[in-house]
């Protein structure tokens, strides 16, 4: 029942994208996202879209998995597009009741929808192609310069690693407790809201107890192996950039340059 969660799921493979340094992927994603917000014309979106499709193809992640991750988003995309369609002032297309559709609204709505879809599919691609451990390693490295200003980079990364590590465990646990309580006649899916909230107690109490127990055991296990925070810790896998990463950075910057050029061209010369 809880098996269908795809968020934060890693699909192991050895594709070009999988082999990129996780830092490259995070920075690349951030640049791509800023690209998405710079863009205002369909031409530039064509470039962003083409880049996106190329990356998905290179990552060897089945397109079905990407679409699956977009499923929970359809409602928001549709809702945003509709709002834009009706509230943007401009040349009217037709009137439904007291609402007027406009051509400008259609334009805005479409752009907004594409924006959200690109954003979401690229962000999930990151988690599909990067193992949680690599991801937190990269975040730790990227935050490290900030530790001079008191940002606890290592602690944050360790917290993330532990949290990510325990998501599947807790999902399994929830599944098992749910099944056990269902075997005792508990019903989690029908009745009034109040009834349903009360039904969660037999699920949440055991889940919290086991989460605390696990936290306790983990702390002891870490101490037993002399864990004492980030100072002077060396790593088994040190992150290193390769020529692959250089090429990826070049590709992203070229894309950004094209997008910015299109934007400047549009605002300055009205192209």
């Amino acid at each position: 029942m809880l098996n269908d969660i795809t968020l934060g799921q890693y699909i192991p493979s050895n594709s070009l994208i999988h082999r990129l340094d996780p830092r490259t992927k995070i920075i690349g994603l951030l640049l791509y996202i800023s690209g998405i917000f710079i863009v205002e014309s369909y031409l530039a979106y064509a470039f962003l879209g083409a880049f996106g499709i190329t990356v998905v193809r290179l990552s060897e992640v089945p397109i079905k998995m990407i679409l699956r991750s977009l499923k929970p988003l359809w409602f928001i995309v549709l809702f945003t597009a509709l709002i834009h369609l009706f509230v943007t002032p401009g040349t009217p297309i037709m009137t439904v009741g007291s609402f007027t559709m406009t051509w400008e609204g259609l334009d805005q709505g479409l752009l907004m929808g594409i924006r959200l879809l690109l954003l979401m599919s690229f962000a999930t691609l990151l988690t599909y192609t990067t193992s949680p451990i690599a991801l937190t390693d990269a975040i730790e490295r990227l935050l490290k310069p900030l530790s001079r200003f008191g940002v606890p980079a290592h602690e944050l990364a360790m917290m993330m690693t532990i949290a990510l590590r325990f998501i599947p465990t807790l999902i399994d646990e929830t599944d098992r407790i749910m099944k056990a309580q269902r075997s005792r006649g508990a019903d989690f899916s029908s009745g009034s809201l109040l009834r349903r909230v009360r039904c969660l107690i037999p699920l949440l109490v055991p889940l919290f107890i086991s989460a605390f127990r696990r936290a306790d055991e983990l702390a002891v296990a870490m101490e037993a192996r002399c864990y004492r925070g980030g100072d002077h810790r060396t790593r088994m896998h040190t992150l290193a950039y390769t020529s692959l990463d250089r090429n990826a950075y070049i590709a992203v910057f070229v894309l950004l340059a094209i997008i910015i050029a299109i934007r400047i061209g549009k605002t300055c010369y009205g192209m």
């Binding site: 795809t6 079905k64 098992r176 309580q181 075997s183 005792r184 107690i201 055991p206 107890i209």
Partner: protein, 287 residues
């Protein structure tokens, strides 16, 4: 009256790269009053299998019937049939949640819609099963009990539903020898009073001692189905499935290999002793 599986296949996460078929074309029948054990290596599909018996999982293809009624339909009779099958998961004490022992045991009977008098009656009976004095323990927190007691309270929570068929997944896992013996004595008692017991276990010794019939699961397939004697005679099949014969039987087999005339199909320690004694005496007479 029986639980019958007809060609049951279950596939997890269909349509993703994580797709995995956990059980394939499993068919069998468990008759009322039997004591059946399901054995198999980790990942052999035994947990998936037993979750089909009370409708927690529905088969991807195939049917499960309890007393002749398909349990995976939306009809009321389907729900009633599912409720005849009780399920005790591994480490059931992790499912305790109520403030008092009595309230925790009453959770199931209340969900089944019994009135308060009946619920109270069931709680008293179940606490008796758990060897806990009602007056003394009913209002205590289940979290103050010892490990073995917590386990028994958790099992009592399922016993209070009075299932005709009771599934237990490794009910003695992690208990000390005394706690384990108490649990198994209780389970035997239930069986003697007419409950059909389905025991999932890794421990060949326990299985050999208690079960009337054994199912062997291997890689999602029902690899063998027979009496303990029949099953433990197939040593090679068990080895292939990642399982062992009970230590007693293994010892006798070793003795036989070294030229002692013992019976290596014996599963019980007393019988084994007799067989060894006989063999030794036989040797003396020969001399």
């Amino acid at each position: 009256m029986s639980i019958t599986l007809n060609n049951v296949t279950h596939t997890y996460m269909t349509g993703t790269p994580f797709e995995r078929t956990a059980i394939k074309n499993v068919s069998f029948s468990i008759n009322e009053g039997e004591f059946v054990a399901i054995i198999g290596h980790t990942g052999s599909g035994k947990s998936t299998l037993v979750q089909h018996l009370n409708g927690l999982l529905s088969p991807t293809t195939g049917t499960v019937t309890v007393d002749g009624i398909d349990i995976n339909t939306k009809k009321a009779e389907s729900l009633a049939a599912r409720r005849k099958v009780g399920m005790v998961f591994q480490y059931p004490e992790y499912q305790l949640f109520e403030e008092t022992i009595a309230a925790d045991i009453a959770f199931g009977p209340r969900n089944f819609g019994l009135n308060e008098d009946e619920v109270d009656e069931r709680v008293r009976e179940a606490m008796d099963f758990a060897d806990l004095d009602y007056e003394q323990y009913a209002q205590r927190s289940p979290f103050q009990l010892s490990g073995g007691q917590m386990r028994r309270v958790a099992i009592a929570g399922v016993i209070a539903l009075k299932p005709r068929y009771l599934i237990l997944d490794e009910p003695a896992a992690g208990l000390d020898p005394i706690g384990k013996r108490i649990i198994f004595d209780k389970i035997k008692g239930l069986h003697e009073h007419g409950t059909t017991v389905i025991l999932v276990s890794h421990n060949m010794d326990d299985v050999a001692k208690m079960a009337d019939r054994i199912f062997v699961m291997h890689q999602g397939v029902l690899a063998a189905n027979g009496t303990p004697k029949e099953i433990f005679a197939q040593r090679d099949l068990l080895k292939e499935a990642g399982l062992d014969v009970p230590p007693v039987t293994e010892t006798l087999r070793c003795l036989k290999e070294h030229g002692f005339a013992v019976d290596d199909t014996v599963l019980d320690i007393d019988e084994a002793a007799k067989s060894v004694l006989q063999a030794v005496r036989g040797d003396r007479h020969a001399e």
